[in-house]
């Protein structure tokens, strides 16, 4: 019914990103980390009046720069972590899918074996019935032979008045 290889699993390997893009994005984000921080810190003229260019404004600018820098650092790590998470999710998806396929194939093989077994059992039953019928016919024939022989001898004796 099926050609050879019909029951071969099709899941071969998990499909993952190579990680090149994630690493490049991480490097870019890490580079921006220093850039954004430094740029923000140099913008110290945000305040007005006597506070313009003062130490308070400088300090606030420095903190804002640190925050901007931290955002890029987090983005750099988040990109790589997303890449690792995607791969881990793919590993699970692949393992689960491959297991499902294996079990489906095992179920199909069981169905195939059931079909073959039922067919074989049916044949064995027919063969047994045929043998029994043949034996019954032979036995009937033999029993009739015995009966005929007995009847013949009886008839002969009767013919001669000896029975």
């Amino acid at each position: 019914m099926f050609q050879t290889g019909s029951y071969t699993p099709t899941y071969d390997a998990p499909i993952k990103a190579t990680g090149d893009v994630a690493r490049r994005m991480r490097n870019d984000a890490a580079g921006q980390m220093a850039y954004y921080g430094d740029t923000r810190q140099y913008n110290q003229g945000a305040g007005k009046g006597v506070a313009a260019g003062g130490k308070g404004a400088q300090f606030r600018a420095a903190l804002t720069g640190d925050i901007e820098s931290a955002k890029r650092a987090t983005a750099a790590n988040a990109g790589m972590l997303d890449y690792l998470k995607d791969n881990a999710t793919e590993d699970l998806r692949y393992a689960s899918g491959a297991a499902d396929e294996r079990n489906s194939l095992a179920s199909l093989l069981l169905d195939r074996d059931k079909i073959n077994t039922d067919f074989d059992l049916s044949g064995q039953k027919r063969r047994m019935e045929s043998q029994l019928s043949q034996a019954q016919r032979d036995a009937s024939q033999k029993a009739a032979d015995y009966a005929r022989k007995a009847k013949t001898s009886q008839s002969l004796l009767g013919l001669f008045g000896l029975a």
Binding site: M33, G37, F59, A62, L63, D66, I67, S69, A70, A73, T74, N77, A78, M80, L81, L84, K85, A88, T89, D91, L92, A95, S96, A98, A99, D100, N103, A106, S107, L110, D113, K114, T117, L121, Q124, K125, M128, Q131, L132, A135, Q136, D138, A139, K142, A143, Y146, A147, K149, A150, K151, S153, Q154, L157, G158, L159, F160, G161, L162, A163
Partner: protein, 190 residues
């Protein structure tokens, strides 16, 4: 040719020991945390963005240093927490998939075991029916043979008594079956 039954009684073979389900089902789905501790550490921790320079104007800027460290620590903790949440969710899904996988294997194993037992039972039925049928036929043939033998013995007895009656003055041989005159008696005119 009548096949001779190999046994008088149906074969009562010892039933095979039920192999049962051995419980060797396994799954290839791992349930370990997908992201290791080293990976988590590598991609969640980073140094504080502000590093106080030794000496000079900003060396003693402890406030900014503390702020930067707090920023770094909170980001590290948030990332580590995110990784942990992902790991736990992934492990839960893996555990569920693994249980489902093993359960499917058990189900298939049980079905296959049932098929094997059913096959063995059907084959035993066939053997039993054949043995019974052959025994019945052998019995019928034996009865027919014994009947024929008994008939032959009766015939032999009748032949002997009939032959002896030839020498009997009463001449009973003149009467055949049912009291009619026999051919031999008629020929001899007696």
């Amino acid at each position: 040719m009548l096949p001779k039954p190999k046994f008088k009684q149906p074969p009562m073979k010892q039933a095979p020991v039920t192999p049962g389900l051995t419980g060797t089902f396994g799954s290839s789905i791992p349930t370990a945390a997908p992201l290791t501790g080293s990976q988590t550490q590598q991609y969640s921790q980073f140094k504080p963005v502000f590093q106080p320079q030794g000496g000079g104007y900003g060396a003693s800027d402890q406030t900014r240093s503390a702020f930067a460290r707090a920023l770094s620590d909170s980001q590290t903790a948030a990332t580590a927490g995110d990784v942990q949440t992902f790991n736990l969710e992934n492990q839960r899904k893996a555990q569920q998939a693994r249980a489902q996988d093993v359960q499917q294997q058990r189900q298939i194993g049980t079905d296959r075991f049932g098929m094997q037992r059913q096959t063995a039972s059907a084959q035993a039925d066939i053997r039993n029916r054949k043995a019974q049928g052959m025994a019945d036929i052998a019995t019928q043939l034996d009865i027919a043979k014994k009947n024929a033998k008994a008939q032959a013995m009766e015939n032999a007895f009748n032949f002997t008594t009939g032959a002896l009656s030839l020498f009997n003055p009463a001449g009973s041989f003149r009467q055949g079956i049912g009291g009619a005159q026999s051919i031999l008696g008629g020929l001899l005119g007696r």
